[in-house]
Symmetry: C2
Subunit: 395 residues, 2 copies
């Protein structure tokens, strides 16, 4: 029988993807350079040449049978070791290959982590505003996503509401810092308080509560911002990482799960990830992508453009009277819309060829997200459209 579950998902397709499709179509009419497309988090800076050169070198010099052969179920050993060593250079927590599992980006990592530490009926808590794809990632495992309302003051965690929602069925808490869509980085104080609540509740409920830390924007943190490494503050932390943003490789689908070496059942969770991959017919990311990534694991693309764009937009949005928390990282900014209905606001913006994503699907109505991973020159050109939009529609 055709699965109604997946069939029904078709009518709930991603608003972001649909706006992006609109922007592409509009670009064909007026030239894409004239569409101020802030819809999609697709990095705008090239991958480091070292990645490209490594790929070419492997293709040129390696035996193709070895290069393109099956990856072991748990990933290519040398790749896991290089990821562990890189994490140890940065955070010194004693990672080994047994703590790492390679995945198709952070999305794949979250999907694996949730399957490993929950059973159907368990609850996974996240905090608004949150990445809307968490809905399908979590709910299709049989676990249930619970959302803590946003703290719109500063987009740190709303602990009062969190304590109302956490309960015995909570298997894991899923955080995303630096955050998509708010651009905010959780402070050390926030992470410490979160760890403290989780430790207290785990004891109260007499079972482990895992902290799944979705960190695709870990390397995109702006000057002077406090950006703690979550695993240092809570033993049962499972990091979900992606090279999509740091190496500008979103289409190549490469990332990893890294369990904190102090994590309860951590090595078991990693071994289970291999079995979860079997179940979805996946069997590790492509060998060549694993191998090439491992050679440039410590590098990043030139990420400085994102901070530059953030500053330009934050200044202009503030000048125009928007309520807006200053981003601490990522390439997103999340201002309050100028009317209650963010969808209506975003629709009006289309008249000015401004593609702004309304916040409803992020679990925080009344806001909009701008993904400013575009050229600075285009950000600057968009400012007059932004001014015209605000002045015409809301003055």
């Amino acid at each position: 029988m055709i699965s109604e579950q997946y069939k029904n998902m078709l009518s709930g397709k991603s608003v972001i993807r649909e706006l992006f499709a609109y922007a592409t179509k509009r670009g064909q009419e007026i030239g894409y350079e004239n569409v101020f497309d802030y819809s999609l988090g697709n990095p705008s800076v090239p991958t480091p040449p070292e990645f490209t050169n490594t790929m070419i070198k492997m293709l040129t010099e390696m035996d193709p049978v070895a290069l393109h052969g099956y990856s072991p179920t748990q990933g290519i050993g040398s790749v896991l070791e290089k990821i562990a060593a890189s994490l140890n250079r940065k955070y010194n927590l004693g990672y080994t290959a047994k703590h790492i599992f390679p995945t198709t980006g952070a999305a794949g990592a979250v999907a694996h982590a949730v399957r490993a530490v929950s059973v159907p009926g368990d609850e996974i808590i996240t905090f608004a505003p949150y990445f809307p794809e968490y809905g399908p990632y979590i709910n299709l495992t049989g676990a249930v996503l619970k959302v803590v309302p946003a703290n719109t003051e500063d987009f740190q965690i709303n602990f009062e509401e969190f304590e109302k929602i956490i309960n015995e069925k909570t298997a894991a808490v899923l955080i995303n810092t630096p955050n998509n869509p708010s651009g905010v980085v959780y402070s050390t104080a926030t992470i410490k308080q979160l760890a403290s609540v989780l430790n207290r509740k785990a004891q109260e409920y007499n079972h482990d509560i895992y902290l799944i830390s979705d960190e695709p924007y870990r390397e995109i943190v702006f000057a002077g911002v406090d950006a703690p490494y979550v695993s240092k503050f809570y033993d049962n932390t499972i990091v979900c990482y992606s090279f999509s943003k740091s190496l500008s490789l979103p289409g190549e689908r490469i990332g990893y799960v890294a369990v904190n070496p102090a994590c309860k059942d951590g090595e078991l969770i990693i071994a289970m990830c291999g079995q979860i991959s079997r179940g979805i017919g996946h069997n590790c990311p492509p060998s060549i992508i694993q191998l090439a990534m491992a050679e440039v694991v410590d590098m990043t693309a030139d990420l400085s453009v994102y901070e530059k764009n953030a500053n330009i937009l934050y200044k202009e949005l503030s000048n125009l009277g928007f309520t807006c928390v200053k981003p601490g990282g990522t390439f997103y900014i999340f201002p309050k819309a100028l009317e209650e209905d963010a969808a209506a606001f975003s629709k009006k913006a289309l008249k000015y060829d401004l593609i702004l994503v309304p916040s409803d699907s992020f679990g925080c109505p009344g806001y909009f997200r701008m993904a400013y991973c575009i050229e600075t020159q285009k950000v600057e050109r968009s400012l007059s459209a932004l001014r015209k939009f605000v002045e015409t529609e809301y003055r």
Copy 2:
């Protein structure tokens, strides 16, 4: 809570992978060239140089931001069109991009197809001997795998037993031809009879029954063998294809789902595949692999070595008195073991550095599989070990 389901899978790990691990370890002791490793279906011939050259050209000439950007949810349009055109050149069934979804090999394709056409509790029927990974692929969707006992006469379908097992809960039938592990290709007569049963039963039960045709070995068919294209004989056919064997790219995880253009709800099934990918956090195979594959979609590696090896082994096994159906394709042969307990037989073979996979996990006890995707010269060298094994242990 840690998922017991995945935890328990760890104790049921693949026998094939474990034998391969043994062979690798033994190779470190005596030199891998002296281990007659017939365990793993890892192609032994290089990918065509055109694939390598295409990869290098794209890496050298394309804008890296475009090259490594996100694939659309349904796959890269130009890639889908090239796959459809290639299928039409070969089979002329009128495929378009809307009938194709790119996946991580045939494994990913089967995992998607089953999720699309079944709901938990539905039954999926396959025929022994069968690829043991079908167990996790099917059972983790919530559907239930039912296995029709083998027709050991010629390893075509045992229709008498099939008719006993098919019932109202049957959502799909999963076949694999050319077959792993038997090496047999289902004949036109077999496919016609299968289609006839399915049409009759679909009418009787008043619901569609899909035929999921797992075809990673489609291009490896030996001289003079009748190898029908399954979709031509049954409208509701969903092809699961992989370039792992045809292009010798098993580690790069690239394949597709192709619904027969005449398939009921076919385009819907393809659209649903995009949603299924979302749910597993996968989001299409890597962009660069999709793009490079599409450029060489009609090519294959030099597959002639497999037929050569098949002939050498079939002849020697027959001489040694093994009961053995002659392979019509693939790189597997599936003789009857010389004692009832195939695991005991395979264990004894290890003494002669022969790595033979016992057939229990293929749902057909008492046989063993040899994956002869190794150098012909090594196959020839293995013959004396094979003779010595048989003569010492069973004469």
